[in-house]
Symmetry: C2
Subunit: 232 residues, 2 copies
Amino acid sequence: MAKNAKQAPSALDDPEYRRGIVELLGLLAYGEISACERLVADAQMAPDLRAKVEVAAMAAAEFGHFEQLRDRLAELGEDPFEAMAPFEEIFARFHAKTKPSDFLEGLVKAYVGDSLASDFYREVAAYLDPETREIVVETMSGTGHSEFVVDQVRSAIEADHRVAGRLALWGRRLMGEALSQAQNVVAERDALSAVIVGGADTPGLDLAAIGRMLTRITEAHTGRMESLGLSA
Amino acid sequence: MAKNAKQAPSALDDPEYRRGIVELLGLLAYGEISACERLVADAQMAPDLRAKVEVAAMAAAEFGHFEQLRDRLAELGEDPFEAMAPFEEIFARFHAKTKPSDFLEGLVKAYVGDSLASDFYREVAAYLDPETREIVVETMSGTGHSEFVVDQVRSAIEADHRVAGRLALWGRRLMGEALSQAQNVVAERDALSAVIVGGADTPGLDLAAIGRMLTRITEAHTGRMESLGLSA
């Protein structure tokens, strides 16, 4: 794959597009490692070992995604940690503002965050060059543990109906913070924004397109909250 | 493999041996998940993201080992979490008494603990039935990150020679606590002890054999501390 890429002309030959892709991979890689880190911290609140192991498996899946993204950056001749560094603050801010106060909130955060990331990957993938798309599609699969989260949240609500109100508020806060940080990224990173909304063919920032994308992502979020038994 | 095991007579048909094996797998599984958990907690102390990722990779390797052991217990028709439960206290005690005060102490703990576990697996594997041996050998490989630990410890000592004295003390404390908890396990678990010292052929507790095994493990530990630039 990498060999062919060197022979055939590639969208990555365009330095502006390439810069956007490196930023995108850096953003995704940092997001995965930071999700992994938060999941593991939240696992401390698990009520028993079985639940802790479920969360650890989600964290391990995120770590696997991180490794793929890191290796792709290295393949492009980039230092993965340098590519990730610009996004450290964004995620630190997001996590500081969305510290779960119990295990359930941690689970909802993992579920919502993982799903938002998947939606975002899916939105973006269409515009990407084939090599980048392949890696993004491979890591966009989510951690595949939503069943566990849905079960836990639904039975917690069954045991105590007040939980639903609290978690619905929590879901709204998560979504609000995610959107706010996403807007920061878009505002600060022109090359990345260009890649997100139009890839190699649509250079420059298209706010309307970003708006439409965010609307689709918000709608999917609403559907997911409902599947948890929560109003969005 | 499992299919053949059902047809051929197996050491696992002996209920006492089988009980020991289930305890052994439960012990190893709990050890892996608990090492994974501690590593991840210690990763918070990493000086930078690069170091954090190294530690996360070690944790992910431990989690992979845990999954293999858990699946083997399930294959034997056992509830993995029930098999693990008796060892929770042992590891909680060990970790409570060996809380690293900085990142280096965490690294040394991971390295020493991982290596002790490998040595122990290697000692035990020889006595086991083929099916159990296979899984123990697969998970005894260590996390393969000792190079990173050795580098970090050696450069920290180079930068400040006093570090060597502190870490040498720390290594002794780790070994002392590990031995003390190992003795608790042996004292409390007859079936497991029988498996450890002689497998299916030597039922009953042989304290002299355990003593010899501990001597060999201690010697290997001394060699490893020296490779870190520390006196044992």
